[in-house]
Amino acid sequence: MAFCNINDNRLTYLRVVVQNSPFRIDKQLKLRMVNSVSSQNNLVSVRNLTFSRGSKKIFDDISLDFQRGKITAIMGPSGTGKTTLLKLIGGQLFPERGSIFVDGQNVHQLRRSDLYDLRKRLGMLFQSGALLTDMTVFDNVAFPLREHTHLPESMIRTLVLMKLQAVGLRGARDLMPNELSGGMSRRVALARAIALDPMMILYDEPFTGQDPISMGALVHLIKSLNTILGLTSIIVSHDVHETSVIADYIYVISEGKIVGQGTPAEIQQSDSEWVQQFMTGAADGPVHFHYPAKEYVDDLLSSGKRY
C-alpha cells in the first residue's frame, strides 16, 4: 500500500516528461522553475487561485505561501470560504484558475492514485471531527493504520495508544463518538490525523464552539505537536486571540482577497481599517452590521407585499 517513494518529486517529473508532449514539458518546466525560485522553503504554495461557487467569487486571484515547520493561519469572517481553501489544498475541489503546489506537486494535475498517496501525508482536522460514528475511539484512530498499512494488530494497538496518549484520551479508547464531548471528539480526530505521521495538518476551525478549558487544551496541543513532530500546520479560524497566540504567520482574507498578512504582531499593528475591525471585533466598520437593504424609513413606510 505505502508506495510513498513514488511521490518523490523527481520521479513525478520524470513521468511527466515521458508521458507528455514537448509543449507540455516546457510548460511544466517553467512552472517548476517559478516554483523553486520563489518557494524553496514553502511546503504549500497557492498561485493566482480563483474559485467561485455559483456567481459568487469565493477566491479572486489570490496567492499564499505556507512555510515548512511553521503554523500559518488563515483568518476571516464566516462565509469567506476558508474551509473551501482547505478542500482545494486537499484536492477535493478543483479551482477555476490558478494552481496549488503541495511539496512541489501540483495537486490538481496529479493522477488519482498519486493524489491519494499525497493525502496519506496530510492530516485534516474537520470542524465536526468527522469521526466514524459506528466505531469506537480506538477503531477510529486505528482506521487509517488498518486501511493503509499491513501492521500486525499488536503494533497497531501500540501506535493507537501512543497517539491517544498524546491527546490525553488514552482512557477514552472504548467510548463511541456519540459519547464524547465536542472538545474530546476534536482531540480524537487530531489523534487520528496524526496516526500516519503526516508532514502537514490542516485544521478547520479548531476552536469554534469550545469551552475555555478545551480551547486551551487544543491550543497547547496544536503548538506542541507542531514543534515536537516537526509538522507544518495550516489553521483556518476566526478566533482571533487563540490563533494569534500560536500562529507564526497570518493571512486575513475577506471577499476573496487578502486584506492583510504578516506575523501576529504586524497584523495587530495593521493600518487597514478592515483588519482592525476584524481583530478588535467592532460591530460596525468597513464590514457593516446591516445586511444590504433599502433605506430603513422607506422600508417601514412602503405598503409592502404580503409574503
Binding site: 459506528d134 466505531m135 469506537t136 477503531d139
Partner: protein
C-alpha cells in the same frame, strides 16, 4: 465491530436459511425433483387429432405420471399429429401394443396422454412407436354428435 462472533453466526444463519428457502422452492415446489431428462427414453405416437395437448403435458399410465410430452408436430404427408414423449427410464416395461389416448383432467383441466398397456410380451424400445392411438375428444364435436343423436331419437 465488537460482537463479531454473534454477527457472524447470524449472517451464517441468514444465508443458510435463504439458501434453504431456495432449495425448498427448487425441490419441493417445482417439478425439478419429480422428473429429469437424463435418464429417460423417447417414444412417439401419431394421433389423428392431439387437441389441446401441449409440450410438457404429463404422460401417465394408470394415473401415475411417468413422463412428459417433449414435442408436437404436424406430419404433412399423413396429416397426423406426431407427439414425442420422454418416458422415465425406470418404466421400461411398457408392452409394444400399448394404447395412447388423450384425456382431459377434470372438466376444464389440462389434457394429458394416457398410456393403456396391452397384453404383448414384447416391450416398447427407445424411439419406439405406439401404433394404437385414440384422439383427443373435441368438446364441440362431442356436443354436436350428442345433439345430432338426440334429434334422431326424437324422430
Amino acid at each position: 465491530m465488537q460482537h463479531t462472533t454473534t454477527q457472524d453466526t447470524l449472517v451464517g444463519l441468514f444465508v443458510a436459511s435463504g439458501i434453504a428457502g431456495l432449495f425448498f422452492l427448487a425441490l419441493h415446489v417445482s417439478n425439478l425433483s419429480s422428473f429429469s431428462d437424463q435418464d429417460s427414453y423417447v417414444i412417439t405416437a401419431r394421433f389423428e387429432n392431439s387437441g389441446g395437448l401441449k409440450v410438457k403435458s404429463p404422460v401417465s399410465a394408470a394415473g401415475v405420471k411417468i413422463g412428459k410430452v417433449t414435442s408436437i408436430s404436424f406430419d404433412t404427408k399423413t396429416y397426423e399429429s406426431v407427439v414425442q414423449m420422454n418416458i422415465d427410464a425406470k418404466y421400461n416395461t411398457l408392452p409394444d401394443d400399448t394404447t395412447a389416448s388423450i384425456f382431459t383432467a377434470g372438466l376444464l383441466g389440462e389434457q394429458y396422454v394416457n398410456l393403456e398397456p396391452g397384453g404383448s410380451e414384447e416391450y416398447l424400445k427407445p424411439n419406439g412407436k405406439i401404433e394404437i392411438t385414440q384422439s383427443a375428444i373435441i368438446l364441440e364435436k362431442a356436443i354436436g354428435q350428442f345433439l345430432f343423436k338426440s334429434a334422431e331419437e326424437k324422430k
